[in-house]
C-alpha cells in the first residue's frame, strides 16, 4: 500500500471536527435528560457545551423535532413538548429514587410557583407557606377537596419536597437555613428566587388561565396542541416521530397513526440515522417497532439492567415475563418474585423477606418495565410487549473454549 502524505492540518481539522461532534452529541443528550439546564446546578459542565454550540443546537432541534431551544447566560431551556399526550410514566420526583408526586404536591407546586411570581428577590419557607395558604383559599380548590393549612407535619413535608424540586430545577437557591428545621417547626430556610428561570418553567403556548375548557381531556388537548406539528405533510409527521424516538424508550408501530406508519415504512432507516448520528444514540430497528439505544446512559433516567435489589428484581421479572409470553397477573408475578427473594436472600434488601416488601419490589419492577415500554399494565395483569424479548435469558457462553487442535 502506498503511503500518501496527509498534511498535518488535515489531520488536525479532522480531530477538531471529531471533538466538536462529540461535544454536540453530549450537549444533545444532556438537554434530553434535563430540559432545563442551569449554570450552577447538576448539569453545569454540559451547560458549558450547550452555550458553546447554542446556534447549532437551536437549528438542529428546530429542524428535527420542532422543539424550541432558549439559551441564556444562566440557563438553557429546551421546550420539550411531548408528541404523545397519554404517557403517565413521567411524574415529577423531588430527587432520583424518591416517590413520585401526589395530586396534593402538584397543586402545592403550582401554588408555590404562583406565590414566587409575586415575591421579591428573596423569600423564606415560612413566607412562602403563608402565601400558599392564601392562594389555597381558592373555592375551586376547596371544592376539589384540596386544603392547606400548614399546621400538620405532613403538609410541611409536602411543601419541603416541592421546594426540593424547585431547588433541583434551579428556580430557588438556598442561602441559609435547613428544610428539615422547617419540617420540625424549629427553624426556617432562606432562598434566592431566580426569576429568569421561573419565567421559563412553563412551556405551554397558551396560558392555562386563557383556556376555558371544562373537561380534563379537552384541557389536556388544548395545552398539548403544538403549532409546529400542525402542518399536514411529511415534515410534521417526521417531527412527531422524531419527538417520540428521542423521548420514548421504544416506539411500536402498533401505537402510531396510519400516516406515521406509512412514513416509517419507507423512511425508517434514514430517520434513524438522522437522529442517531448527531446525538450519539444507536438505532435498533425491528419488525414491531424501533428504538434508540443509549450507550452512555447520559440521556435516560431509568435503565435496564441496573444494580441493586430493584434493578435485579426488574431484570428477573423481565426474564420471567419474556419466557411466559402471555399476560401474567400480579399475584403470579408476586409469587415468582417471592421465590426469587428467597433464592437471592443474601443479596437483596432485608425488607424483601416480608410479604409487603416483596409486593413493593414487584410494584417497583412492574412500574419500571412499564416506564420502559416493555410491558403493558392492564386490569388483567401485566402483558409483555415485543421489545421485552431483548431480556430473555440467553445461553451461557463459556469463555476460552477453543476448538481442539489436531
Amino acid at each position: 500500500m502506498t503511503a500518501t502524505h496527509v498534511p498535518a492540518t488535515h489531520v488536525l481539522d479532522r480531530a477538531n471536527t471529531q471533538a466538536a461532534d462529540d461535544d454536540r452529541s453530549r450537549a444533545i443528550r444532556a438537554l434530553l435528560r434535563r430540559p432545563l439546564l442551569a449554570a450552577g446546578g447538576p448539569g453545569a459542565e454540559a451547560f458549558v457545551l450547550v452555550r458553546r454550540h447554542a446556534a447549532w443546537l437551536r437549528d438542529w432541534f428546530a429542524a428535527e423535532t420542532g422543539w424550541r431551544l432558549h439559551v441564556e447566560p444562566e440557563f438553557a431551556r429546551l421546550r420539550k413538548r411531548p408528541a404523545d399526550l397519554d404517557d403517565a410514566t413521567r411524574p415529577a420526583r423531588p430527587g432520583r429514587g424518591r416517590p413520585p408526586f401526589s395530586r396534593r404536591r402538584y397543586v402545592l407546586t403550582c401554588l408555590a410557583l404562583a406565590a414566587l411570581e409575586r415575591s421579591e428577590a428573596q423569600t423564606t419557607l415560612g413566607l412562602l407557606a403563608e402565601k400558599v395558604i392564601t392562594g389555597a383559599a381558592d373555592p375551586a380548590l376547596a371544592d376539589a377537596g384540596v386544603v392547606f393549612t400548614m399546621e400538620r407535619i405532613d403538609e410541611r413535608r409536602d411543601l419541603v419536597s416541592v421546594v426540593r424540586l424547585l431547588l433541583d430545577l434551579g428556580v430557588l437557591d438556598r442561602v441559609a437555613g435547613d428544610e428539615q428545621a422547617y419540617v420540625d417547626a424549629r427553624g426556617d430556610a432562606l432562598y434566592d428566587v431566580n426569576r429568569r428561570v421561573l419565567s421559563v418553567v412553563l412551556t405551554t403556548t397558551r396560558g392555562p388561565s386563557t383556556v376555558a375548557e371544562e373537561s380534563f381531556a379537552s384541557r389536556l388537548a388544548v395545552l398539548g396542541h403544538d403549532a409546529a406539528l400542525d402542518a399536514v405533510g411529511p415534515v410534521a409527521v417526521r417531527r412527531r416521530l422524531a419527538r417520540r424516538l428521542l423521548d420514548d424508550p421504544v416506539v411500536y408501530d402498533a401505537d402510531l397513526t396510519d400516516d406515521e406508519r406509512a412514513y416509517l415504512r419507507t423512511q425508517r432507516p434514514q430517520l434513524a440515522r438522522r437522529l442517531a448520528e448527531p446525538s450519539g444514540l444507536v438505532a435498533e430497528l425491528r419488525a414491531e417497532g424501533s428504538c434508540l439505544l443509549d450507550p452512555t446512559s447520559e440521556a435516560t433516567d431509568a435503565a435496564l439492567p441496573e444494580e441493586g435489589t430493584d434493578g435485579h428484581a426488574t431484570l428477573l421479572a423481565a426474564e420471567y415475563l419474556a419466557a411466559a409470553g402471555r399476560t401474567v397477573d400480579r399475584d403470579e408475578l408476586t409469587a415468582h418474585l417471592a421465590q426469587l427473594a428467597e433464592q437471592h436472600r443474601p443479596y437483596w434488601r432485608k425488607d424483601t423477606r416480608e410479604p409487603e416488601g416483596v409486593a413493593a419490589v414487584c410494584r417497583t419492577a412492574v412500574d419500571r418495565l412499564a416506564a420502559l415500554r416493555l410491558v403493558d399494565v392492564t386490569a388483567d395483569g401485566v402483558t409483555p410487549r415485543p421489545a421485552l424479548s431483548r431480556y430473555a435469558a440467553d445461553e451461557p457462553t463459556i469463555a476460552g473454549r477453543q476448538e481442539s487442535l489436531l
Partner: protein, 523 residues
C-alpha cells in the same frame, strides 16, 4: 346638652346614617359660607335633595342637637296652618364646636385626598433664604428682625417641601401596588409621574450640593449665635409665668436647624433625606417599568403568569386520577427526562460483527447478554471482604537460606580450585562436583581463546572471580583428574588458577572488573 362631652360632636361620623348626618352638616357649612346663619328643617331638606324625607331630616337634626353639633332656637315666624302652629318648630344653627368639627373634617378630607406634589419652587426659596442668612451671619451687626423673618420663612418652606415630598412618595407607592390598574389610568399617571420626577429630581440634584455648601458656610459663620438671638427675641413675647422661655425656644430652633441640615447633609451611616428621596424616586421608576412590562405582557395575549399557575393548580385538583396528574405535569411543564434502553460496548461490538436485519422481530433477534454475576447476585462486582494478603516471610527465609548455602558452596569450590603457583593438571587431585563444574568452565574459557597452540593462555570465568593461565607442556603427558562422576583425561598442561579480587585489573588485560552484586566473600 350640658352633659355632652366635647368629642360627641364627632359621633355623627361613625353612627348609623352617617352619610345623612354628613350631608346635613355640609349643608349648614355651605349656608354659613353664604352668610346664612339659621336654617329651618324644610330648607335643609331642600338642600340635601331627595336623600331623606322631612321627618327623617327632623329626627337627624334633633340628634345632632343632642350631640352638640347644632343649636336649636324656637321658631317664631308666622305660620299659616294649625298643624304648623302645633308642631314643635325650631331654627337650627351651627354651634362653635360643631363648626370646629366641620372644619376639622374638611381638612381631614382634603389631606387624605391630597396627592401631594414635589415642589421645585421650594428648593430655590430655601437656597435664597440660606444665602440671605449667610450674609446676615457674616455681618458685624446682624439685623435681628430680618434674621427672624428669614429663619421662619426658611422653616416654612422646608416644612412644606418635606410634607409634600412625603405625601407624594406615599401616593406613588399606593398606585404602583395596584396590579389590576387600568391601562388608560396608568398611562395618565405615568406621564404625571415622569414629569414630576424629572423636574424635581433634576432640581434636587442641582440644588442640594449648593444648599449643603451654604449650610456648611453658615455653620462656619456661627449660626448658633443667630439662633440664640432669635430665641431671645421671641422670648421677649412670652408670657411671664413660662419657665426658661429662652432655653425652650432655643432648643426648638436648634431642633429645626438640625432637621434642615440632616435633610441635605448626611454621611454613609445616616444618608441625607434628599438622598433617600432620590433613591425612592429611582425605585419608583423601576417599579413603574415593571408595571409597564406586565401590562405589555397582558396586552400581547400572554396572560399573567401568576394567574396561569393558579389555573394549573385548579386543573391538578380537578384531575380525575393520579395518572392524569402525571400527564398534565408532562404536558404543561415539559421537564421530564428522556428515557432510553441502554447498550453496553459488548452489545454494540456484537451488533457490528453480526448485524440484525430491520425486519427481524424482537423475539428472533439475539437477546441482550447479561453478565452472569449480575444475573446471579444483582451486582457487577463480587461483594464481600477483600482477599487477605498472605504472609510469605517463611518462604522468603527459606529462599535466603538456600541462596546462602549455594554461595558458601561456590566460595568453597573456588578456594579448592585455586592453586598457589603453576601446577600440573595431573597434580590437581580429586575434585568434587562443584569444583569440577568450575574447573570445566575455566577450561572451556581458556581453550576457546584464540592464540598459538603452544603459547600460554589466560582466561577468567564469566563472573571474573577465577582466572586461569594454561600452558601446554611439551612432554606429551596425559593428565587424569578424578571426580565424583568419573575421571577427566586429557593432554597435560601447567595451570595456574588464582582468585581475582574485585577491583584488580583483568588478568587477560583490560580494565579492572567492577564488583558485581554485593555481599561477596573476600578472597
Amino acid at each position: 346638652m350640658t352633659d355632652a362631652r366635647p368629642t360627641d360632636v364627632f359621633r355623627h361620623v361613625t353612627a348609623d346614617q352617617a352619610d345623612r348626618y354628613r350631608a346635613i352638616m355640609q349643608a349648614f357649612a355651605a349656608a354659613k359660607s353664604r352668610f346664612v346663619v339659621h336654617l329651618r328643617p324644610e330648607d335643609v331638606h331642600v338642600d340635601i335633595g331627595d336623600a331623606a324625607s322631612l321627618d327623617q331630616v327632623t329626627t337627624a337634626l334633633d340628634q345632632l342637637t343632642a350631640w352638640g353639633n347644632l343649636r336649636s332656637d324656637p321658631d317664631t315666624a308666622r305660620v299659616t296652618t294649625v298643624e304648623d302652629f302645633n308642631r314643635a318648630r325650631y331654627l337650627y344653627q351651627l354651634t362653635h364646636a360643631g363648626e370646629a368639627a366641620e372644619t376639622a373634617l374638611a381638612a381631614f378630607d382634603e389631606a387624605l385626598g391630597r396627592r401631594g406634589e414635589l415642589q421645585s419652587v421650594a428648593l430655590s426659596d430655601i437656597r435664597d433664604q440660606l444665602g440671605e442668612l449667610l450674609a446676615e451671619a457674616r455681618a458685624d451687626q446682624p439685623d435681628d428682625g430680618r434674621v427672624r423673618v428669614g429663619l421662619r420663612s426658611l422653616v416654612a418652606a422646608f416644612d412644606s417641601l418635606a410634607s409634600n415630598a412625603q405625601a407624594f412618595m406615599g401616593s406613588l407607592q399606593r398606585t404602583i401596588d395596584l396590579h389590576g390598574v387600568e391601562v388608560e389610568a396608568f398611562l395618565v399617571y405615568k406621564d404625571q409621574l415622569i414629569s414630576y420626577v424629572e423636574r424635581f429630581i433634576g432640581q434636587l440634584v442641582v440644588a442640594s450640593p449648593q444648599i449643603a455648601g451654604l449650610l456648611a458656610d453658615l455653620d462656619a459663620a456661627d449660626v448658633d449665635a443667630l439662633l440664640v438671638r432669635v430665641a431671645q427675641r421671641e422670648a421677649a413675647d412670652a408670657s411671664p409665668d413660662e419657665a426658661d422661655p429662652v432655653g425652650m425656644r432655643l432648643a426648638a430652633w436648634r431642633d429645626r436647624w438640625t432637621g434642615l441640615a440632616l435633610w441635605f447633609v448626611g454621611d454613609e451611616v445616616h444618608p441625607a433625606q434628599a438622598q433617600l428621596l432620590r433613591r425612592r424616586a429611582r425605585q419608583a421608576i423601576t417599579a413603574l417599568l415593571a408595571v409597564i412590562a406586565e401590562l405589555n405582557e397582558r396586552r400581547s395575549g400572554r396572560s399573567d403568569r401568576s394567574a396561569d399557575f393558579r389555573a394549573l393548580a385548579r386543573w391538578f385538583a380537578q384531575a380525575p386520577g393520579d395518572d392524569d396528574c402525571h400527564r398534565l405535569w408532562r404536558v404543561a411543564f415539559g421537564l421530564s427526562s428522556a428515557r432510553h434502553l441502554t447498550a453496553s460496548a459488548d452489545l454494540l461490538d456484537a451488533r457490528a460483527e453480526a448485524p440484525v436485519a430491520a425486519s427481524t422481530p424482537w423475539a428472533d433477534a439475539p437477546p441482550v447478554h447479561i453478565s452472569p454475576r449480575l444475573r446471579a447476585t444483582g451486582h457487577y462486582e463480587r461483594r464481600g471482604k477483600p482477599t487477605r494478603i498472605t504472609d510469605r516471610s517463611n518462604e522468603r527465609r527459606l529462599l535466603a537460606e538456600r541462596m546462602e548455602v549455594q554461595r558458601a558452596q561456590t566460595d568453597a569450590a573456588r578456594r579448592r580450585l585455586s592453586t598457589s603457583g603453576p601446577v600440573r593438571l595431573s597434580a590437581l587431585g580429586h575434585l568434587d562436583r562443584d569444583a569440577f563444574g568450575l574447573f570445566l568452565d575455566l577450561l572451556g574459557e581458556a581453550l576457546a581463546r584464540p592464540g598459538d597452540p603452544g603459547r600460554p593462555v589466560t582466561a577468567t570465568t564469566a563472573d571474573g572471580r577465577l582466572a586461569i593461565t594454561l600452558t601446554p607442556t611439551a612432554d606429551g603427558g596425559t593428565a587424569r583428574i578424578p571426580t565424583d562422576d568419573g575421571a577427566l583425561l586429557g593432554a597435560d598442561h601447567v595451570v595456574d588458577i588464582r582468585l581475582v579480587a574485585p577491583g584488580e585489573p583483568h588478568p587477560a588485560g583490560g580494565a579492572p572488573r567492577a564488583m558485581v552484586g554485593s555481599g561477596g566473600v573476600g578472597p
